[in-house]
Amino acid sequence: MSVRLIASAADRRLLDESRRTRSMTWIMAIMLFLTVLAAALGLATLRGAGLLDRQLAGRLTVQIVEPDAVKRDAEAARALDAVRAMPEVAKAVPVDRAELSRLLGPWLGADGADPDLPIPAMIDVDLGQGTDAAVAHVSAVARAVAPTVRVDRQEAWMSPVARFMDTLVLFAGGLVLLMAAATGAVVILAARAGLETHRSTIDVLHMLGSTDVQVARLFQRRIAIDTLIGGVLGTICAVGAVLFAGLQLSLLGSDMLNGLALEQRDWIALALLPVLFALLATIAARASVLSALRKTL
């Protein structure tokens, strides 16, 4: 039993395995199941928010709100030409009136298709770089040729959704940290209970000249293995649940929800969680045992 990080085969027999319970493994399986779910939710939301940002960044809606249909169409045509001529603009597409009527259908019913209804003319503009200066320049150019123009950034409409997604990411991150803290607490309790269970063995080892580090290594090894086994079990179950949820989301056919997809690096991060938790458990067990032993002679 020398000063090594890993216990040897002979050292591993020092603690009576028959007095070991499997509860720690199952607790860790549940903890990792919940942690992986929370992490998957956070990562998927992060990817979704990123996709939303990429889709909406630099996209503008130019509205011509002139009530007179003839003037409106003329202003819309001038605005479209002026905007398309700008180097900052990657794409500018007029929104078809029939499409607008269809979108307004749920609120206006059949009246939405009335040609006398003064629905604003709209142009979807995609800027290469959605900087404030570019948006201001487009607004100025459009307003110069069409006085009744109004320019809206699409990301402004979606900002409550983006804020909600950011909150969800923070919430998931917080959950993962909370689960890590809870795992640490469980490990500390388990290590202290283990110390009590094996008190007589530890007393003998101390009397024979064992150092605290040697004794701690026996416990940290056992707890690390329990955490790793339980963690892998929990992670496998959680990954199964995530895949099932992903399948259900894809069946909904929503563009936004389809954005909530995990990338390869996310799956790797999830797979590393049980290893990280085993490392955390090892450190917590070591610190806990060393702290408890320091109070003895």
Binding site: S8, L14, M207, S210
Partner: protein
């Protein structure tokens, strides 16, 4: 002979009770053999606990291997303990380990490579007559066999001091004499031996042994110069 242990006005109190040991002042010479005698409850086990650093005294000074053992930092205790072999009164064998693994413990604790563990453990098992019980676990051993495993475990690391608390309490007279012979052999190799016993039949077996008698936590002969047969308590 140089002194390996020195006690000066040592007292030991458990909790708030009366002193279990009082005003102990004595020295143990390196390489000498000591019997510690006294009635049950006289404080023999408590004195041994101070010797093998399982307790710190409530007062007084203890020097061990030339160093102050009272204020010895905790991190240095393992190094000191490896220089002391202990035979506990209740053996304290690890019940889930074989006789072999119990005896090998001090070597493994000291970091001896596994390849160097087997030979001395086999030798020690033969020395205590348990070469046929290598894989037996303590619950399957008789009291005498357990005691011999405990003795083998205490001496395998060639300690500088061997402390034995009633080491012959569970064995027949023949085995008791044999074990005492083992202690004597070890002593001749230079180990300081301290044997606590109330078995007066043993005391005359080691002619060179010094005697220390405890009565109600006080040492009757602090010089440790008594020889068997001992004088009465009032002498």
């Amino acid at each position: 002979m140089a002194n390996i242990v020195q006690f000066e006005n040592v007292g030991l109190r458990y909790g708030t009770g009366a002193e279990t040991l009082s005003d102990l002042s004595f020295t143990l010479a390196s390489g000498a053999f000591y019997f510690l005698t006294g009635a049950s409850g006289a404080g023999k086990t408590s004195l041994l606990k101070l010797l093998y650093l399982a307790q710190r005294p409530t007062r007084g000074a203890i020097r061990l291997f030339g160093e102050d053992a009272v204020t010895l930092p905790r991190r240095r205790l393992p190094g000191f303990r490896r220089r002391i072999g202990v035979v506990f009164q209740d053996f304290r064998l690890l019940p889930h380990l074989s006789a072999y693994d119990n005896i090998a413990l001090p070597l493994r604790v000291s970091g001896v490579p596994e390849s160097d563990v087997q030979a001395p453990v086999r030798e020690m098992l033969a020395w205590v007559g348990l070469e046929n019980r290598v894989d037996a676990k303590p619950p399957t051993l008789s009291g005498g066999e357990q005691q011999r495993v405990a003795i083998a475990r205490a001496v395998i690391g060639r300690p500088e001091i061997l402390v034995a608390d009633e080491p012959t309490g569970n064995v027949d007279p023949d085995m008791a004499e044999r074990l005492l012979h083992l202690f004597d052999s070890l002593n001749r190799l230079g180990t300081t031996v301290v044997v606590a016993t109330h078995d007066f039949h043993l005391l005359g077996r080691i002619q060179s042994a010094h005697m220390m008698r405890l009565d109600n936590g006080r040492l009757l002969d602090p010089t440790g110069s008594l020889r068997f047969p001992p004088p009465g308590p009032k002498a």
